[in-house]
Amino acid sequence: MTISNHASVPETIALPPKEFSRTLYAYVVWGGLALALLWSWAPAEMDRVTYLFSDSGNMVEYASGFLTPNFHDWDYYVQEMILTVQIALWGTVLSIFFGIPFAILSSSNVAPIWIVQPVRRLMDACRAINELVFAVLFVVAVGLGPFAGVMALFVHNLGIIAKLFSEAVEAIDPYPVEGIRATGASKLQEIIYGIIPQVAPLWISFSLYRFETNVRSATVLGVVGAGGIGQILFESIRGFYYGETAAILIIVVITVTVVDLLSQQLRKLAI
């Protein structure tokens, strides 16, 4: 069976030529990346890469210090690690709770442009400033301790949650919302019955992911005195207690892995 038995088929069929603009675009993107890497080489002191090998003796000695983790104070480390997770939990939940209204207000398919733009810029500001910087600020404001860490995570994540959640809202199917509107429902009811059910799976997934990230972030908040395991981690590094440092790092890695696995299971259940 042939496709044609009357028209003559040429021996070779030429491929249509590549679009010039797309070829050019590829050159510009890859060439630009190469240029940017070259430009950043010296400022980033990438030439020091040889030091990794030239003083390999020192490196080996340094690394071998970590090979014998010292779990003598393990209960103290675990206690601090649990505190770290508790800080992350409160920071995440607060940022979700307050992030939802901001997310709705920064969705262009829900709110008018003169609300969307200012709210988005405010959220940009929350996001742009690192949680460590916020932690330093809150330590000054509310004193040393875990609460400063919670507040730092909360404010930084508020911006992230608002952005991620509003992107989900902007991608919804508008017709079910119209169906709700046609019943005479109020605007808030349209959001609750028409929008939230549609975005719930994505929102849950984003929230769990942010919780994982916050557990990781919270492990360094202690460096500036905002509570958690970061404080003892930083102290043991500065004091050259390699064994203790290794033990703390192992506990951090195990905790982050467990949180990761748990949230994956939760996500599967929710969606």
């Binding site: 042939t2 038995n5 079910p176 169906g179 509107r181 046609a182 109020s186 009811q189 019955y193």
Partner: protein, 281 residues
Amino acid sequence: MVAVSIDGLTKTFGRKRALNGVSLEIPAGEMVALIGASGSGKSTLIRHIAGLERGDAGCIAIHGREIQSAGRLSGEARDMRRSIGVIFQQFNLVDRLPVITNVLVGFLGQINRLRGTLGFFSRNEKHIAMRALHRVGICEQARQRASTLSGGQQQRAAIARALVQGARLMLADEPIASLDPASARRVMEILAGINKEDGMTVVVSLHQVEYARRYCPRTIAMKDGAVVYDGPSVALDTAFLKELYGEASDELILPDAPVSDQPRERPVVAIGSGAPALATA
């Protein structure tokens, strides 16, 4: 009592004139079909009547109260939507919510706003919602997510929502266009039943004239955004449709409509002359 009265309604989308000076009146209790080829303005007209779209000029009154006039929605539009049930071609249910919640949404416009927002529906309201589901024949599926229902069942759930809403006017925008013939007939029968038993005014836009002839005593035919025929459905025979729509009339007479039961011919697409014919449904 006049259910719908439209006077000189005009709407332009970009350069395209979607509605061109439409004026009509529908007395309460009628069942009216709105027919026309795709792009003739049926859906646009229905969306204007429901107050979901604003016209450029002209006015629309529902049960004697103006819902929009000269491009402005009345301040009572949200309130008036309560008395207007709308069902859509794509059902517009919220997929992830259970059927019963989708139906209870019909109460939102009637009950205390805070209670509705928080989702505290009374036992009596749930009872009414279940009765509506029973009437459209899907009360067993009440707890299932809307997305698990078939197209025909989803459309019936949407009708139940409009029933719960206490609407006096039902607007159906191509309610059967994406349904198989059996489900289509079921939905049309439910709409006709609501019209007869409850005296609800029903305006239904249709693609197929056969359904209009069978279920609706009156038909309004549209072409290029204007009303070209308004009268008894029985007068719409094939010759008259040809006259109204020319070649486009083929689109309006589909072989799967309920009255004609002849075997339907499938369009045949052949690739080359020796290739087997591919039948497309």
